[in-house]
């Protein structure tokens, strides 16, 4: 039991290390992209999606990062943006619903296609269902979220 727990601890620490080597450079790249104007250009490409999901343009950054890099990374960007008070409660919920159903499209899709699954079914179904679920939530989410915008997060 002690050995198992030690294995678990080791796996956890190694997992964090693996995330760290991607997430720290990623955060630097995001800051560089933001300050150089590149990010405005990328986010601009995704503006129709923000309109469809009824979320702020600021929400597109965590959405795009999560979609391409992964849920942990997207969540990290949400945590940072929310800390700066950029995302409303509705924005956070819609983005998390979208990303929970569809994230790391490159990595996950390639891994599962490698063992024989249909690539088009994998990508198509996830994008379609995540968009549908996020659109639905955006349309049923209570409207009083503008007041809740400055509400601090439980950051622990």
């Amino acid at each position: 039991m002690i050995d198992t727990a030690a294995d678990g601890l080791k796996a956890g620490l190694m997992g964090v290390r693996d995330i760290a080597v991607i997430v720290v450079p990623l955060m630097v790249v995001i800051e560089l992209a933001k300050d150089s104007g590149v990010m405005q250009w990328i986010t601009g490409r995704f503006r129709p999606l923000a309109a469809l999901l009824k979320i702020s343009r600021e929400s597109l950054l965590p959405l795009v990062v999560g979609l391409m890099v992964g849920l942990a990374f997207g969540s990290g960007v949400i945590i940072n943006a929310a800390r700066d008070g950029q995302l409303s409660k509705k924005d956070r919920h819609v983005v998390v619903v979208y990303l929970s159903l569809c994230h790391s499209v490159f990595e996950d899709t390639l891994l599962l296609a490698a063992v024989g699954a249909s690539l088009s079914w994998l990508v198509g179904s996830r994008l379609l269902l995540a968009t549908a679920a996020a659109m639905l939530l955006a349309r049923i989410f209570p409207h009083q979220d503008m007041e809740a915008q400055s509400q601090p997060l439980g950051m622990g």
Partner: protein, 139 residues
């Protein structure tokens, strides 16, 4: 404009994010490892067998889904490799696991954004099952 502050902000954001994630990832990985070693995850696979025929999958494919849902995509892939499955069956499992995987860890991670983990986990399981039925029907 890119200044020294840009680099400092990026590094600080990265380190703060890693710290928030580490506080979740390390304990959860430990618990999952213990659960796996005690054999409880294998018991869950047996329990889910009747559901598998609805998805056009053999009983033992429950292992791939359970491993995917509660551990991660890698363990589901390992299970897929061990089982004897058709391309259609692999696609059903892959779509389901692609939508819903690593539930404990990922729910804990997304909860750090202030979104409740249980509804998100329930949504993923629900959408995953619907997608599995859909792929089995339409493929």
């Amino acid at each position: 404009m890119i200044t020294k502050r840009t680099w400092v902000n990026g590094l600080r954001n990265g380190i703060e994010t890693i710290w928030e994630l580490a506080k979740v990832v390390v304990p959860v990985t430990l618990v999952i490892t213990v659960l796996k070693e005690t054999g409880w995850l294998g018991m869950a696979a047996d329990w889910l067998e009747p559901l598998m025929s609805l998805l056009g999958l053999p009983g033992e494919a429950a292992l791939a889904l359970v491993m995917g849902y509660f551990v991660n995509v890698y363990s589901a892939i390992a299970a897929i490799l061990v089982l004897d499955l058709t391309i259609k069956q692999v696609t059903v499992i892959a779509v389901m696991v692609g939508i819903c995987h690593n539930l404990f860890l990922e729910s804990a991670v997304t909860s750090k954004t202030g979104v409740k983990p249980l509804p998100i986990a329930a949504l993923r399981i629900g959408v995953s099952l619907l997608a599995g039925l859909g792929v089995n029907w339409l493929y």
